[in-house]
Every structure is written in C-alpha cells, then in structure tokens.
Amino acid sequence: MNFLMRAAFVLGGIFLGINLINYFVLGHTGDYLPGGQRMGEWKEAKIREACYPALESPERDELLPKLTSNQHRVDWRELNRAKEMTAALNCYLVTHPNAVCERNNRAYIVDYISRYFAKFDEMIEVAKRYGDSEMSTVKNLWDSPRNRAINAALIQDTSNGRLIKADFGWTVPAAMKPLLDRYKGTTDNCPRA
C-alpha cells in the first residue's frame, strides 16, 4: 500500500509537471480548452495555414497597429507581436468570417482570441508604470482600423452564437465576458453542411 501511494505520488507529480510545462513553457493553451461537439483539435485547424500569407509582411499593411508617438516605452518585440496578432486575428475573423464555424478552426481561434486579449492586458499592465500618457499610447496602438474590425467581428460572432462562453472554458478574456453574457443562449447561425 505504502509503495502504491509513493508510486501514485511520483506519477501524479510527473503528470502535473508535464502539464505545467505544456501550458506555461510550450504555451499550448489550446490543449486545455473544453472539448465537445463545438470544439475540435486546434492543431488541425486549416485556418492557421490559410492565413500565413497575411503574416508574411505586416509592415506593408497600413491598417495594422502603429505607434502614434515617438515618446513611448513600447519594446519593438511587443510592437511586432501586436501587429502580428492583429494581422492573424483579422484574417481568422474578418477575412474568413465563416472559419469559426468549423470545429478545429473554432478551437484555434478561441485560443488565439484569449492570447490576443492577454497580450493587450500585458502591455497595458507595463504601460501603467509609466502613467496616463503611456497608457494612452498603448490603447491607441491597439485601436487601429484592423483592431476595430476585429472588435466588430467579435460582436457579430457572439451575437449570432458562433462564439459562446462555454467555448472559452475557464479562460474567458475579461473584455469578452460582457459580450458573451449579453448573448447567452443564442444558437449559432453557421451554414450547415
């Protein structure tokens, strides 16, 4: 019995460690999204590859986030990430509005929406240290025409049930909560095959 307890303890530790590494180090947050009929396998999402061209040269897209002031504390890597994430999500939601109806794509897109808002929150958190001016620089950065198009698409997708609260599991982005609550119980209008 004692031996079994120890073995269970070690195996539990390994299981927990593997999952912590998968989530926090490898960043495979999509693995922890709820399953079921609506959600497929994020790794199988076809939309991911379909949108590679949108990420090839984001610097050419004038509608992507850009800094409005020279006096800022935004690191270039953060700036590039904001551009990349906006370009990608714009492609997933705006360029291909029906992509979210496919199970695998939905799992990938839901995960990406969480990452998108997490990056925004992270940059705002850093900007807070520098005061209102920096906060407004970061907010302006994330308010490009592409970001506004993404917001409009998210309102659309929640209002017509293509995205629901249960899709996000326990990681509902704070910015999405009021939207998802408002349209709770809506059945999706995805085209049926």
Binding site: F9, V74, L79
Partner: protein, 223 residues
C-alpha cells in the same frame, strides 16, 4: 485538497532539483571560473536583487532613444527602426561574443569583436552620461547606464587580456573611454543617481571601488 496539490508541486520541483542537481552540478561548477565574466557581459549587468523601482527596462529608456543610433550604424533604416531594436542588435552581438568566449571557441574575428564591443558600449555609456544628469533618475535610463557601463568594463577587461595584445591606438581609445566613464560614475554616485546596489557583485572592481569609496553629497532626483 489545496494542500495535496501544493505537496505534489513541491514534490515535483524538489525531485527535479535533486535529480537535476545530481546530474548537472559537476558541469555547473566547471563553468564557474568563466561564469562571472560571462554574466557581467551577457546579462544586464544590473544587480540581481536590486530594487525593482531603481532599475527598469534599458531597451526602452529615453536616453537609449537619443543615443543608440549614434553608436549602432544601421544605415538609412535608422529612421524606420525602433531604438529598442537598435539596442537589441548591440546586445545580441555582445551575447554572441560572450557565449563564444564561454565555450572557448572564439570566432575568427573575436579579438576585433571584443575591442569593437568594448568601444561601442563605451560610446553608448559616454553618450548616456552626456545627457542631462536628471535623465538618469528614470529607472529605465538608470538601467541602461548600469548595463552600458558594466558591459564596457567587462569587454575592456577581455580586450586587455587578449594575446597578442591589441594595437596601441585601440588600447588608448578604450583607456580614454574608461577614464571618462569612471569620472562620470563618481559624479553620479555623489548625485545619488547611482548606488552600489544598482550593480551586480560581478561588476568590474573599478566600478565597485567608486561605489564604495565615494559618498552621496546630494540627491538630484528629489524634487
């Protein structure tokens, strides 16, 4: 339940440290002689346990914005490039040189590169010190100043130890930069913009001597 989960986490981390320590400890101890010079030239150069309010993010410092493209020549792209990217280029070059030195496989141009990096970090530090003294009350600017100064002295020391010795004119440039920086360090120690705790214990002895011997006469950051 929470206690059991915590116990599991502690068990896993403890097991990893015990097993990992047993396997990797000999390698870590073998790396120690070169560790001190590597950390001061590859890391930020700031103290590991410095007050987080004193040392910020050097790459986004306003002083770096003013100085970096005077030191790092990226050609006509400078206008389009973010200063933090210019700072990253300089830092990436330093890391590459430090790793090469650490593993004992210096590249063909490594001697030149050590001198080049010493001069570049020295020029950046000089440019930072030439700004208004109060600029360095900003935690990001202070971090940039600490990093540039620490890296200059680390690379200068490496350049000094090179065999065959570096050309006399290059040695003189490095020496002049060093004298200039030591003078500026003294001033900033007196102004209260720098304290010993801002530098890591691996910082060059010249820096630590000034931090120890000079006394703060006023605090220019107090309004």
């Amino acid at each position: 339940m929470i206690r059991q989960v915590l116990t599991l986490i502690v068990a896993f981390v403890g097991g990893f440290l015990a097993v990992g320590g047993w396997i990797w400890a000999p390698q870590i101890s073998r790396m120690m002689p070169s560790f001190s010079s590597a950390t001061s030239s590859a890391g930020s150069g700031g103290a590991w346990f410095a007050d987080a309010n004193r040392l910020g993010r050097p790459e986004v410092a306003p002083v770096v914005r003013s100085c970096i493209f005077r030191v790092v020549d990226v050609g006509p792209d400078a206008a389009k490039m973010e200063p933090s990217a210019g700072y990253f280029i300089l830092k990436a070059g330093s890391m590459q040189a430090s790793v090469a030195a650490l593993v004992g496989k210096p590249g063909l141009r490594s001697d030149n590169q050590t001198v080049f990096l010493a001069i570049k970090w020295g020029e950046l530090a000089s440019c930072i010190y030439a700004q208004d003294d109060r600029e360095l009350c900003d935690s990001d600017s202070r971090a940039a100043m600490v990093e540039a100064t620490t890296k200059f002295f680390a690379f200068a020391k490496q350049a000094e130890a090179l065999k065959p010795p570096i050309p006399a004119d290059e040695a003189r440039v490095i020496e002049n930069l060093g004298d200039k920086l030591l003078g500026a360090l003294k001033n900033h120690r007196r102004y209260g913009t720098l304290v010993a705790a801002d530098f890591s214990s691996f910082a060059a002895p010249e820096i630590m001597r000034i931090m120890r011997e000079e006394k703060e006469t006023r605090d220019i950051c107090k309004r």
